[in-house]
């Protein structure tokens, strides 16, 4: 720490800190446009000029490029500084159109605000201002108004320093300087929405929000991004009971203020006209609207009948990851205690072992990337599945100098920053791991890098056709690396919370292993044995062993990789009860459909991939008669004569804090008032029952799948796919690229493919990627009109007819 004097007051600040940040952190706000605390300084806008006393007298200096020195004397409000600020603002406003009444930024605009506080009030500029065509679309989501731009380079720097896709740049110079894209290459970045948020004027606006509201008419509430597992802080803004905008919140632990575009613009499903607003009962081929009493009565009667005829084990539940932890706890309590069945799973056959996810939660944090020397990513393509984590890893490699190693069937979005890009044919991962452990051959350098700690390892399934046991083996290896933190990653939003709450066949609430001596103190009687996972449930349903299926925000027909199995299961069971926001392909087959509240319509907690528990909040009421999951489940239990007695979501949260061991002491009060960035469970002093036990020979949790053809299948997800919440968001619904097949050019030439290929008989456009391991075909999962390939690990690939 050093001591500096700001406006006559001595303050202690970290040595080497930039003056603008040191001043802000010690209570003096210096106006600025270009400087942003998550990006490198450039000193472009000159708004942050201050006077610094030095050996050559007092000099005006931009505080964003000046590091503090011990004894530095700074004046931020002297007449000279004020004159400089007035001058800078007069220049910045020379060409600014002052079309504030029709500008989205008006009312929340730094240029407006700082002109009020520091500006000259009037302009001497009488000449014609610069004119441009306005606005011009620079991507599907973002529009650019060059007249308003003050050339601060925040968007340009973001795209180069943070997101790594510099598609927006300064063009020309002098009076003609402007921000723009290359003529036929739009700003098609997964992160383009962030530039709208950090633009200090109204130059960049988002098509989803344009002219929808004035900032002063918006109400807002702090919450957590519902579409990813990173726990990104968001501000949800609404007007007239409609959510209009998401803004990223700078949460130091998770997202640094950034959001991917699917998360930022993907809120439109909340107000979709297709939302379910009334309970439905099956009648003929369709459904008819019924009252809650009728619907719940019929559901309770059906479930009771199945339990009586076939035993409680004939009831199974799939889903629960889209709700809050409170919803999940209610579901687990309902299944294990009211019904008495251990057959429940929040994963949709696309996850990792629950013990891996739960036992490592809280052990490694995203923040460990800030100090990592080596980062190993052996998981899905982070850019596609965990976009904010991708930004954090990119930062570690690009700005903080960590050695980055990616292991994947193909080069990933991180390829340009990866020190080592290791590719392998799906199915040969275990061999690769053995070679990596031994450091043999060309992997010697990689092995040597992994011996340089601290190591952060991000581990997951690289694709849905891959054996999940591989991730367990990689974890066992990575745990022993020097100062290792391992982050096991899955994609579905609140999977971690749901599993921690016991929506898993082999866990009880609070990270307690099922089937052991430990029970659950919150339940009087319950089946605490190990039950069936989603694949097991679907197989049992197809075989007739499971007779009733409860779907909670789950669409197995689309989300389970083996769509064929899901279809057979749904056709075979006697009763399907669905709690959902939409009539999905699977819900459409349900006997009873119960409309659920969604994110922003209910309060609760969620858990991110670190095991960080965070509070989500309510700002709009739901559609029609929709109710929260927990309340539906509680009512259903009562009607079956096995009441749970939950009175409110907060009451459930207190039950969780009391009865779920790893969540001990984590209450809404704590999250609302003390730990706004969330708390990693277990808290200090709280013991977590489930400990990590390395397993290398685990029963396959997921499909693994049948070996049908000569090509190994890589089934990865893309950011934009055909999932229901994406499909229901007008801004992002059309961004999914559609299905295609990728081959290594060598393979493509060998089989003589050109233009199109047939993958297991499904005709797909062919793309070539030399980084894809030979003998592999990559097909994105769940794209519009995509082929159902999820049941297999190997497929046949033939040249497409009529190439």
């Amino acid at each position: 720490m050093v001591t500096i004097t700001i406006d006559g007051t001595e303050v202690q600040v970290p040595a080497g800190e930039l003056l603008i940040k040191a001043a802000e952190d010690s209570g003096t706000y210096i106006p600025r446009f270009c400087w942003h605390r998550r990006m490198n300084p450039v000193g472009m806008c000159r708004m942050c000029l201050v006077e610094v006393e030095g050996p050559r007298g007092i000099m005006l200096t931009p505080s964003c490029t000046m590091p503090v020195n011990d004894g530095m004397v700074v004046h931020t409000k002297s007449p000279t500084v004020e004159k400089a600020q007035e001058g800078v603002l007069e220049f910045l406003l020379l060409n600014h159109p002052l079309d504030c009444p029709v500008c989205d930024k008006g009312g929340e605009c730094p240029l407006q605000d700082q002109t009020l506080s520091h500006g000259p009030g009037e302009s001497r500029m009488v000449e014609e201002k610069r004119h441009y065509e306005k606005p011009i679309p620079i991507s599907d989501l973002v529009l650019l108004d060059r007249e308003r731009c003050i050339l601060c380079a925040r968007c340009v720097r973001f795209s180069e320093e943070i997101s790594g896709d510099p598609l927006i740049e300064f063009m020309d110079r002098g009076n003609a300087a402007e921000v723009n894209t290359f003529p036929d290459e739009p700003f098609a970045s997964y992160f383009s929405g962030n530039t709208v948020q950090i633009c200090p004027v109204g130059a960049l606006t988002a098509s989803a929000y344009r002219f929808r509201a004035r900032p002063w008419d918006l109400r807002e509430v702090a919450s957590v991004n519902p579409l990813t597992t990173t726990g990104d802080g968001v501000t949800v803004q609404a007007s007239q009971n409609e959510v209009l905008r998401f803004l990223g919140v700078d949460n130091d632990a998770t997202n640094h203020g950034w959001l991917d575009d699917r998360s930022r613009f993907g809120f439109e499903w909340i107000a979709s006209p297709d939302r379910l607003a009334t309970p439905l009962a099956k009648s003929g081929d369709g459904h008819t609207e019924v009252s809650w009493g009728e619907a719940l009565g019929a559901a309770a009667e059906n479930l009771s009948a199945v339990i009586e005829a076939h035993g409680p084990g004939a009831v199974a539940a799939i889903g629960g990851a889209r709700g809050t932890n409170e919803d999940a706890y209610a579901l687990a309590s309902f299944m294990r205690s009211s019904v008495g069945s251990p057959n429940l799973d929040a994963r949709l056959d696309d996850g990792l072992g629950t013990h891996l996810l739960s036992s490592l939660a809280g052990k490694g944090e995203i923040g460990d990337l800030e100090t990592a020397r080596t980062v190993l990513v052996w998981a899905a393509d982070l850019k596609e599945e965990h976009p904010v984590l991708y930004l954090r890893v990119r930062r570690a490699a690009q700005e903080l100098g960590a050695t980055l190693i990616t292991v994947h069937p193909t080069a990933t979005g991180l390829a340009d920053r990866a020190t080592h890009t290791v590719t392998y044919r799906p199915g040969e991962g275990h061999d690769l791991l053995d070679r990596l452990r031994a450091g043999s051959g060309d992997l010697a350098d990689v092995r040597a890098a992994l011996d340089e700690g601290p190591v952060v390892a991000i581990v997951g399934r690289t694709g849905l056709a891959e054996d999940p046991a591989l991730a367990e083996a990689v974890t066992a290896f990575a745990r022993d690396l020097p100062q290792a933190s391992v982050l096991p990653v899955v994609r579905r939003a609140n999977t971690y919370g749901a599993i921690d709450m016991g929506v898993a066949p082999d866990l009880l609430p609070g990270r307690v292993a099922a089937g052991g001596d430990a029970g659950h103190t919150g339940w009087e009687k319950a089946d605490t044995s190990v039950g069936l996972d989603t694949r097991g449930i679907l197989e049992a349903a197809a075989d007739g062993r499971v007779k009733a299926l409860l779907l909670v925000g789950a669409d197995p027909l689309r989300d389970v990789p083996d769509a064929d199995l899901a279809a057979r299961a749904l056709d075979a069971v006697d009763v399907v009860i669905s709690i959902d926001c939409f009539l999905t392909d699977s819900t459409a087959k349900a006997d009873i459909v119960l409309p659920a509240l969604g994110f922003t319509e209910k309060e609760g907690t969620v858990t991110n991939l670190e095991g960080r528990v965070m509070k989500v909040n309510r700002i709009v009421s739901g559609p029609g008669q929709a109710r929260a999951d927990w309340s539906i489940i509680d009512d259903l239990a009562a009607r079956m004569g096995r009441p749970l007695g939950f009175e409110s979501a907060e009451a459930i949260s207190l039950a969780i804090a009391e009865h779920a061991p790893a969540y001990g002491g984590i209450t809404w009060f704590l999250l609302d008032w003390k730990e706004r960035d969330g708390v990693v469970a277990p808290r200090d002093g709280v013991e977590q029952p489930l400990q990590y036990i390395p397993t290398t020979s685990l029963r396959a949790v997921g499909s693994g799948g049948a070996k049908r053809g000569g090509f190994a299948l890589h089934l990865g997800r893309l950011l934009y796919d055909d999932a229901v919440l994406t499909r229901q968001g007008a801004s992002i619904a059309d961004l999914a690229p559609g299905a295609y097949a990728v081959l290594n050019p060598t393979d493509a030439d060998r089989i003589g493919a050109n233009g199109h290929v047939e993958v297991d008989g499904h005709r797909l456009p062919l793309r070539r990627d030399a980084s894809l391991a030979e003998g592999t075909v990559a097909v994105p999962f769940n794209q519009p009109d995509g082929p159902p390939l999820g049941g297999s690990s190997h497929v046949d690939v033939a040249p497409g007819a009529g190439a």
Binding site: D165, L167, E169, F170, M171, D172, R173, F182
Partner: protein
């Protein structure tokens, strides 16, 4: 890849000179101009592909510097200095003579000739001076300038060389130019080996020779 084999070879030679590929963007832009006569979107895209940056970044660089021409400038770019020394020595009259003879106002071009104002070209001692494809002529007069333009139109030289043009059309030089340069520019970009140059016909260097 739309470039000729020769241009791609030049690109490889240039890329080999830099430890960071993106450092080669600026010299490669001249190769792109040589390929197409000016800087096209395709040319910038090709440079981006070769250097691993985005086309937007290439355009950002290209648009900052005014020697990268993003509009056609003809085969011969005549850049008349109008900065202070040349201005005082009658550059405006020379420029008007060039415009009249070429039939092109400054800032525009036809298929053969482009005419432009230039800021100081560092030849104050030999003012007024101009550049043709960045090859210098000093001590111009309006009449000599007309001859120069007429010569470009009629002789259509494949190679532009300062010594040759100075001998034919120049006057007082700012200093003794020394050894004769035997290579010259082959397009509206500087004569520098990696971008492409060609041998000059040395016969043409004899003073007083006209076509």
């Amino acid at each position: 890849m739309s470039w000729s084999e020769e241009s791609l070879q030049r690109a490889d030679d240039i890329l080999a000179r830099y430890p960071e590929k993106r450092s080669a963007v600026m010299p490669l832009l001249y190769v792109a101009m040589r390929e197409d006569g000016y800087l096209t979107d395709d040319g910038m895209r090709q440079v981006a592909e070769l250097t691993g940056v985005t086309p937007a970044q290439v355009q950002s660089t290209a648009s900052f510097y005014n020697m990268y021409k993003r509009e056609p400038v003809g085969k011969y770019l005549v850049s008349m200095c109008t900065s202070i020394s040349c201005f005082l020595m009658g550059a405006d009259d020379v420029l008007h003579a060039i415009e009249d003879e070429a039939g092109i106002p400054a800032g525009e071009a036809d298929d053969e000739i482009g005419v432009e104002h230039a800021e100081c070209i560092g030849a104050c001692g030999g003012a007024p001076a101009c550049l043709v494809n960045y090859e210098l002529i000093e001590g111009l007069t309006p009449d000599k300038a007309k001859e120069l333009v007429a010569w470009l139109r009629s002789a259509k030289p494949d190679v532009i060389n300062a010594d040759e043009m100075q001998a034919l059309f120049g006057g007082k030089t700012s200093f003794d130019w020394g050894i004769r340069e035997e290579r010259g520019a082959v397009g509206p970009f500087p004569a520098f080996g990696p971008f492409g140059t060609a041998d000059v016909n040395t016969d043409a260097l004899e003073p007083g020779r006209s076509t």
